[in-house]
Subunit: 189 residues, 2 copies
């Protein structure tokens, strides 16, 4: 359970090999500490990171959004999320996304954990939050159609986890870390 003593492979060469408006693909020439050389491909990250928020409408109810997802060409249930804009802290970005996507700001944000998507191929990081003490405030978003906001009772979480349209791992992590945080808090009290 100790930290690894492994030495990171040396990056011999890093080349941009394909790119579009949103994606940049790099080829990485690596030499591992045992002398093995390999070529890996990875996606160049945005560096500014992203946020995802579990908003509490009241102590027993969270808010979800239903949104079109182009990758899977389907409507998916999930939590408000988005990229951190230039100059924003993760907290400020979380509050902005809440206002844009669910029509509330939050007086209280509590960080759950920073997560990655697939560290073998992507560097992008997302900070997961819980949001409490909401107040109505709307900011215009850039969605092509209004997002559907859904109140979901916490005592029906098992139904949510069983749904085929609630399957983004970062959202599942946020939901289960939220339940764990609530449980740990109640155990302390």
């Amino acid at each position: 359970m100790s930290q690894s003593s492994k030495t990171l492979p040396k990056i011999l060469k890093c080349t941009l090999i394909a790119s579009s408006r949103f994606f940049k693909i790099e080829s990485l020439q690596l030499r591992f500490s045992n002398g093995q050389q390999r070529e890996f491909e990875r996606m160049r990250g945005y560096h500014r990171g992203a946020v995802l928020i579990v908003p509490f409408f009241d102590k027993d109810t969270i808010l979800l959004i239903r949104e079109y997802a182009a990758g899977t060409h389907s409507y998916e249930l999930g939590f408000p999320k988005g990229l951190i804009d230039s100059g924003e802290t993760p907290e400020i970005a979380a509050n902005r996304e809440l206002k844009e996507e669910v029509g509330f700001g939050a007086n209280s944000l509590q960080k759950l954990k920073k997560v990655t998507m697939s560290p073998s191929y992507f560097s992008s990081e997302m900070t997961l939050f819980m949001a409490f003490d909401l107040y109505p405030e709307t900011l215009p978003g850039d969605e092509p159609e209004p997002l559907e906001v859904i109140k979901w009772p916490l005592n029906k979480v098992d139904e949510l986890l069983a749904r085929d349209d609630f399957q983004e791992a970062r959202g599942i992590s946020a939901l289960l870390l939220t339940l764990k945080a609530l449980k740990d808090k109640n155990n302390i009290i």
Copy 2:
């Protein structure tokens, strides 16, 4: 909490705009049901899917691997995982990955959930499993260096979740769904 009555946007055009050995990027021309037209970029998926496995060494101990991740250029703790090969079921792929990455096969696999990475941009799906009743068997993998296999006691899960080198959302989802499944099972008994 009902199913959405929303009509999926119409894909007017789908064009391959950039590609490398591993990644293919598509541009999608969409018309939403309200008439709004937008251009989205997404990654073309592998279709064959992937698996990730939480292996139980005994009833109180899970197995982790420590592996170099090129996307984040760091060594990360996580669970054995990999793409499903042509002709494999998810269960067969899970057993092969276990043999390649931790040196065990499993007599019993239990599905937790199918998850996505980021459905707005990727179609790739991963099936999460728990593996029980392990037996020693090794298959050669394609790793540039031997993977470090680590026994982690279940009663130290909070320490694992707090670590900065355990942050892949799909692995966190698998771990927390595992704990939930064990708890639900004990409650039933």
